[in-house]
Symmetry: D4
Subunit: 230 residues, 8 copies
């Protein structure tokens, strides 16, 4: 793949308010090189997700964060809005998806609060933090296995709750499928869900919510494809 | 089941901002009677979802809407906020879930805009409506089969997009599972998803977003369970 | 099928301490008749499970309880031990499995306590009952959809907790499979699980626990098959 | 992850009678270090499960047992109760889950009896041991593939039988899912089941049974979260 | 569908030794009429399987047996070979598949022995019949749910054992899929399996075995398709 | 495996118009050697698919192309027909399947047009190329995750569209199963589909279409197997 | 639903060469009425698929064909092209999907040849028809259960072969999923596949092939949506 | 595991006519050592299946055959019966399961005929061998992907046909599950099936058939477990 073949969607941030991001997993070294070169030449910032250590080692231009497997080309915004999002995890193993969400929000100008290890098996840990969680505009609930945290949380707080099921666990955890279905079938009203381990997606859903409360210029609509009027 | 056994969560609206709702499916006639009686005595409004014709016929106190299989005990709010939510469907068969969302929003004080039948097989139908859709605060995308509408929509509008996969289709549509997985694996960033055919859940997720932009009294936090300080 | 073909396991109660039970579902009317006749002639008590209304109408000898779909041929024990088992349900729709467990326990001499409708979406309802639940020897947790009740409960009480996933819900609830996997993958230690909607099985598991604390005569081992010493 | 982020549930043993345990699988080296340090500082004993050789090599404080992939930080109880639990396996390949159960019981004060390799393909091997098995208070049946051992066992002994399906086998064994479903659908009454390969969970379920027969102080209930009385 | 469209494989019995059979399920009334007429005109015997009551009522030429849902057009062989096949079932609900096998064998000249209700939950019932079963040339094991009967049986008898998983049970029985996978993953060597509820297929597999021990004329090979010698 | 055991279908090209191809995956080194030797001796061209780097390194006779994992023994046709097929991909990660299709077409005499990275998340990229795509005789749509590209494309162009779902993505992408089901359930009429990642199969389907429009000699029908006239 | 809400894609035939079609399944009576009225007013022809008897009875304007569950509003083309498509089925039960394909082709101007009941269990029936099948431009292979017909056919004929898996069979046939996967994993090169029972889709795929060989005016491209040139 | 823990079923050959075999996969090095030592001391022959290269390297007493992953401790019978079984494979990749069957038969005294690479995509290859195949007493059909070979074969030969689905293929081949379901749902009557890749099981099923035609001493029945006469 030559660099000419890189076909970026450079208008994405302008159109939907989310910066350019690239899913590194499944791409070859050559493809990632070409993407970096194209972005550098255009002086664009890019967030790479699911980028493993070996891949990152070959891309020195990138600010790499191993636990979340994210890399940033270019710079984070200097000023970030605080306390807009609470990211809550059930267990220690859910941290990578939480960090992916945190880094995605930072890349887009928001400083999230991380609240770790408050799974429902020891319920008091969660109850002690509920008021703090409620003070944020959006809540991201990260949980694997039975994902009961998301249901309990959505039953107690009034904020938008976005569930991130994780692949934590084994056997009947089914690599995250049980957590996913459990969140979708939750007894709590109004919990919405993203893909397994998709901290990036949850952050983007949060960004859409946060962006909506701000004024938007007409520039967005100008980039919409137009029907030819048939 | 006697009426004494009805154990309502009467504080739900106060706690999370969403009115009391009951999933009628799977409940016996006796259980539904007991629920209605308990609510009537308390003078409470209740939304019933997935309530079929036969069940509804035995509950005359309820305002029943067959296409959405919803029933309302008590009254809708007199004043509803307009244009806050756009509900967009891919095909005619997706209408029941859309109406369920519409009725849930109305029950909670919001007047949604319905945009029907703009599936991507005839792309111009959707492109012609994009600007209109973008003017709402939240977008609910209702689609079955391949659910491509949700991806295209989330790629073009900046608003929070909540996907409702539907059980429309047959064979490989797998009663909505394909639409569900398709939305979860969407190539568009920040699409969040609710259960199959769950227009109610999508509306509740939208309500959480809409409620968050308004001031909230401290009463909510007073109803939170408290940790005993261990 | 003639009555001669009925091949009962008449020693079951003697061998494993649980009275004879018959799964009615999947059996023809003729087969059920033959079973009743064989039992009547032997003056034996039999518990029928998953017996629907139509089937039961043709078996007047049976004491039928429609909500649990159970029928009893013969009589319940006159004296029942109280407070040995707490049966806790998440929602109203989980009642049939709870009643099936209750009737199975009654048939075997135990009076269970029913605690309904304490699902985690309104957590205070459950927290208010925890001390009462803890006072029983065995806890049966009945929940569908995300089955979060079972995890929360097993995290808070020290008693044996047997989970009964139910087929409540739709879509991603997958007819109880999500609740089942969720319970199996629970973050709470030592929750054990039975088949979907299997209140009977949970009651039998409880009986094994309750029976073990009592003295057992050697008669049981006498009925064990013997190896020929090869 | 710094050590400050470790959020242990230190009251677990007091609350539900089972010592602190950590699922090592899915945690990073850094996370495991932080957990060990926090526990050492508090002088707490911790059981690590699904801890592989490489991870264990970096944690010299831990007493590691490779075949069961368990490690213990701190010490086992000096006095253990004998013959309370029989752990029975169908084949040699089921041993790891059996050893995990054995080590979990030992960590919590019980000395289990191991009975290996008595699968039903050679039925006499099992029949010769039935009387011995019946003399224990709880039976843990560990089996993969068709898991027929669990059904035969539960049909012959009166004790609580907890099934541990294992991932032994290939193809239609479906990494333990067949054994799991087979146990759940067992024709024997009152068999309860834990997750695939979850010897730890079976041991905890046994502990709940064993603990229940002993007197319990009121201290447990004092640590329960309290409802604020709404 | 006119009768001209019936495209029978009239040489099947000559080619593979099994009489013509028609799967009625999924065929329309018109199609079944056309098949009967074509067979009558050719004076051929045909076995119909999975033929429900309503369908059968419209086909008076057929000797219908409701419990097995089989119908025979033409006559059964006058002389049948005895004791060649033992058909063994785990429970009463497995009878329909057993009867389908029995009728298929009878239609092809063999009188099978039926042994009902010897599931492993009450193991002595099976052990008492093992010697009798061993005296047959082929064994058909019919079992649903955990299908443990097939494993125990194949571990104890030396004859060819053909497993018929049945759709008996609910929940984790997965409409026969658990029994099917359980048999395929059996710990007993040399158990072979047919489709769920497929008593017909098991009987045909038995017929292939029974036919092979007899002398075969060269006529069979004459009907084989020939390669053109490329 | 000795070379004698290689049983090629040397008449395939003559019979169905597609050159000999070998699926390398799943074959041992020895088997691949034997195949190469047999082909060399016969002076035949062979296309190898799913041939990984290590395997290819041991087969120096082969022209290997790593990104598509294809290797060609013998030569490509000197003259290739241009613009007959457009191969369109949603993302960069879909490239390997696209290249496999391209190389298969080239091996069979067609020069395809590659159009990369036009997924629907940035719809304008696709809309800009629709007229160009329509000018080809066949369209191959390569897409993973939600596979929405295939539906949008088939809704806009009139040409035969063959979908290749890819294993791109994670979690709910289910290793390509979601893309596969999504394409099969597409709301666009007349989209046909091949196996996951099967660029080879899509190219062969295209070749069947392209070959049909050309005159065919009678030689094909001469190699058909003949019925012996029973 | 009022008639105003009908949002037809009236340009479909002009754009992609396939007449307007409506999937009736999943639509309410009111929705179908509104569609018929809108089409009648516009004097448009519409093909209804998966339209059951009861629905059709309420729509007298429609020419209904029960075996294929198709209905046509308006008229079939007077002149139809012959012998362009061969529709081949494995068994009698596969006929409905074959007829659906036939009717769809007729509605779009092609007269297909039907070849029934040539499944591979009696291979000579298929071999006798191979030359005839090869004389058509496109082959549609309709088969359920193991779907072996499609593989054998695609291995013997050179024409485009479109597989239609059907839901014929039971148990391991998995309502058509086995036939679907079997066709996708076929050992024959270049078989493409549509959804289960989707005779309509196969016919549309054939139409795309047949239409491509004819000259096309530029009108098609004029109706394509246009990118705004970002 | 010490050697004392080895609990062999030494009577298996006497009881069911099949020599002792050990599934090596899933066993640790220590467990395999203990098994070898126990067998050596008893001078017993043992067949190891699914034994990989590394494991085998540590067991020098074993005659190892890498392609089939089988090892034999002790010796093969000197005299083997010829032509009793034909093992037929669809493709080269199916060879390992075929060799496993061949080695198992040899270990038990039968010399099988191997017929490779006759898959139905090139049907003439199979048709040319049908008469030869028919001359054997049992046929083992080994095939992956669509497994169409098994259906065609069972439709043409009269002998017992045992299908071995293999994990050959990718994507919709689902690691052998498609081949497995395809064989189970086969349109050919009397095909029976074993687990995926289970050449050993197919050989054992064949041995049961071959053994049944020979006279058997009463010794078998003497080793049967006996019911105590309850």
């Amino acid at each position: 793949m030559s660099e000419d073949e890189v076909n970026f969607d450079w208008n994405r941030r302008k159109r939907i308010g989310i910066g350019e991001a690239v899913l590194a997993q499944g791409k070859s070294r050559e493809q990632l090189y070409a993407i970096v070169e194209a972005a550098v030449r255009r002086n664009a910032s890019v967030l790479f997700t699911r980028l493993d250590d070996q891949m990152a080692a070959g891309l020195p231009e990138i600010d790499y964060h191993a636990p979340s497997r994210t890399g940033v080309l270019g710079s984070f915004p200097a000023h970030r809005i605080k306390s807009s999002v609470a990211i809550v995890t059930a267990g220690t193993s859910d941290a990578p998806a939480a960090w992916e969400a945190q880094r995605t929000l930072a890349f887009n100008g928001h400083e999230a609060t991380l609240i770790f290890d408050v799974g429902v098996a020891g319920l008091h840990r969660l109850l002690a933090r509920l008021e703090e969680i409620e003070r944020h505009n959006v809540v991201i609930a990260v949980a694997g296995m039975d994902a009961a945290l998301a249901s309990v949380l959505a039953g107690q707080v009034s904020r938008p709750v976005i569930g991130v099921p994780t692949s934590t666990g084994y056997g009947a955890a089914r690599e995250g499928d049980t957590a996913l279905s459990s969140m979708l079938a939750s007894c709590a009203a109004g919990l919405s869900v993203v893909n397994i381990d998709n901290g990036f997606g949850a952050a983007c859903a949060a960004l859409r919510i946060l962006n909506t409360s701000r004024d938007k210029s007409g520039s967005t609509t100008r980039t919409l494809p137009q029907s030819p009027g048939t």
